[in-house]
Amino acid sequence: MATATAPAVATGGHEEHRTATGMSNTKLAMWIFLGSECLLFGGLISSYLLYKTRGSGLPVPTDVFDIPFTSVSSFVLLMSSMTMVLALSALRRGDEALSRVWTLATAMLGGVFIGGQVYEFTTFLREGLGFTTNPASSAFFTLTGFHGVHVALGITMLMSTFVMSSKGKLHQEQSETLEIVGLYWHFVDVVWIVLFTVVYLVPA
């Protein structure tokens, strides 16, 4: 970030931003933050694994999963990582219009995923699996809910970059902004892949 590293010299000229690693502060901070996020999801996933069979006689999540449906929405989210890559590479080439298209596509794919999750949750609710049903359901909804909130925040960030770009404030030189949003987005995707495998695919 700019300010603190800004050159000290009083001449009015300036040097390049110097950081000890060469990586910008913002990008480094995002990596550090994602390290923390790993532990957040680690805690949530471990708790779910501990509780996934504890139903106290009522349905547990594994009873009501619709694997084909969730596979499709997982695929949608996976594809959004690809469009994210395309958006960034377009911006790096200086093709701002194309970058906006891919950014929007990424956000929309994320939106579809969220929609799928909402649909899935309502189905589960109808089948008798609510947030307060048993430890397994509480752990499941908390885990997937936290992930959903992360996706939603990612969409907000993507739309912010989209708006910035539309207003002509996001150019080739600022592609790092999009890269950092992309880092976050890919992280959220990777978490889902782990989550989908561990929660949905590994048998009870």
């Binding site: 970030m1 690693t21 502060n25 307060t132």
Partner: protein
Amino acid sequence: MAIVEKPLSIGTSEPVLADRPLGVLTRPKGGNGWRDWLSTVDHKKIGIMYGVAAMFFFVVGGSEALLIRSQLAVPNGQVLSADPYNQVYTMHGLTMVFLFVMPLAAAFANYLIPLQIGARDVAFPRLNALSFWIWISGAIFLNSTWLVGGGGADCGWFCYSPNSGVVFSPSHGVDFYAIGLLILGIASLVSAVNLITTVINMRAPGMSWFRVPVFTWMMLVTQFLLLFALPVITVALFFLMFDRLFGSQFFNPDTGADPLLWQHLFWIFGHPEVYIVVLPVFGIFSEIIPTFSRKPLFGYSFVVFSGIAIGFMGWGVWAHHMFVSGIGPVSVAAFSLSTMFIAVPTGVKILNWIATMWGGKIWFATPMLFSVGAVTMFTIGGVSGVTHSLAPVDTQQTDTYYIVAHFHYVMFGAGALGLLGACYFWWPKIFGHMLNERLGKVHFWLATIGMNLTFGPMHILGLQGMSRRIDTYSSGFGFALWNAVATIGAFTIATSLLVFFYNIWKSKKDAPNLPDPGPDPWDARSLEWMLPSPTPEHNFDEVPEINGLDEWWHRKYGYDDDGNVVRIATVEEAAQKGDATNVHLPSPSFWPLVVAIGMPLIGYGLIFNLWLAVPGGLATAGALFAWALEPADDPDAHHGGSHDDHEAPALTGADTNEES
């Protein structure tokens, strides 16, 4: 940034500080009006605010301690009945850990890390302000439970389920505990990301990893511990909050939940938390002891590596808090062994500090007294810690006053005394005048004798079988004598604190009549001492080029042909003048404060009425949005080309917070 001769506007075009030139600062001595404090992004001012608030909560937590000790002074005490006692001891623990020791360490981290690495500020000055404001709103929120939550949390700081459930703790105290700690956690997480980035990225040219001062090193390890420990407790706190407010089933044994889940999550955070508390003072010892021994730290790399080793090993020992929980003999054996071996890197440090003093020319000024005293107290706490790493022995000791004695020797003896010593050491750097030495020594001896009177007897009480967290005891168990002694000790500590406050007042009053301490009153070693006292707002006139460990010392001293130390420059020659003008400084912002104000409102909303959360959510979200739009520096203040990419960091910075 920078030289602004125009009014700064925040967010919308509403001029806020219309009549003040901002940004660059031709070093105005003024600028200490209340608005400047509310909107500051200066790491030094933020550090000072952390310090002041921490001392306030030290008084709060200390008063709670005195209530506890008054109740336990005699058998069948009548000062507090069971319910208020449980609240008071819970809030004492929370206050001392989260609102005193951690923020006081954060105060020094904020103030000193940029100075020690030769930086002009932290990596994200506004996030730094945000950390502070979130922390203080969390602190106020947590304590507001006394007024609006029907009393404090009554579940202990460890808040084991299911006793923390709504059936067993029907008042709102535990809700305030869960949400309060979540808010404090966000503050610490933001701060950890910020400080780690700062240390990794913003070291002055030439400051390779092995030229980084030990205080900064230990703080870096601490921040990594926070970074990885906080999300784990966050998970647990969300579970607890969901259970209490929304009826989820995480900790209800009747539906098959396992109460040990909370214990694991809590201690995976809680044990690193212990090192979060002591590693900063390890750094402080490593600065103060060499300075007053007039020798470099003995075995710098060993001290650094053992700090890192503690940081790693600290993750593998959490279940030693659960030796009697019924986790199975194999787990107990494994955690017992891992706990024993974490004593090794800790012992190494103690020996290194002692070796630093050996052959030195020791000046027992107040900071040195505090440090040597604290190292000794830490050794006592460390040895008693080893005794309960032995799992079979721990089955007798755990949850008795022996444990209370142990961790108070660590948290108070090492942590609090070390930090108080740091106050004496860095006071001239921060405020431009010394603290009175004579009163400082009175403070030290009262505090040390008081703490040994308070916590020493608790070893005996624990071995006599006095349980922790009991609000009363019968006369038949033989606990009366040592409890009375401990209570006398507690009031001695309180007296020592009064001496400290008197010292602060008196030293300030006397300062104009005393000689200026100058940049380097202690003949110290690290970079902050090359700056004038108090530190100018822009820190360094010129970012120094680093040529070795203890850079500042090497600018003052060299060696003659025989290898003897000779002075090569006076402090006045070597120090910076602090008179640079035209230095870019980040612009102040009110948005961190607004973001932070929203958070407790969301908390009250979750507890009392969701509608209350709406203004809170709007404040937080709106302020984050405004923040994202507000450049890190006033765009009007640009001078020269457009090299700054401020907007981007501002955006992701904001999102980062939202996330956590």
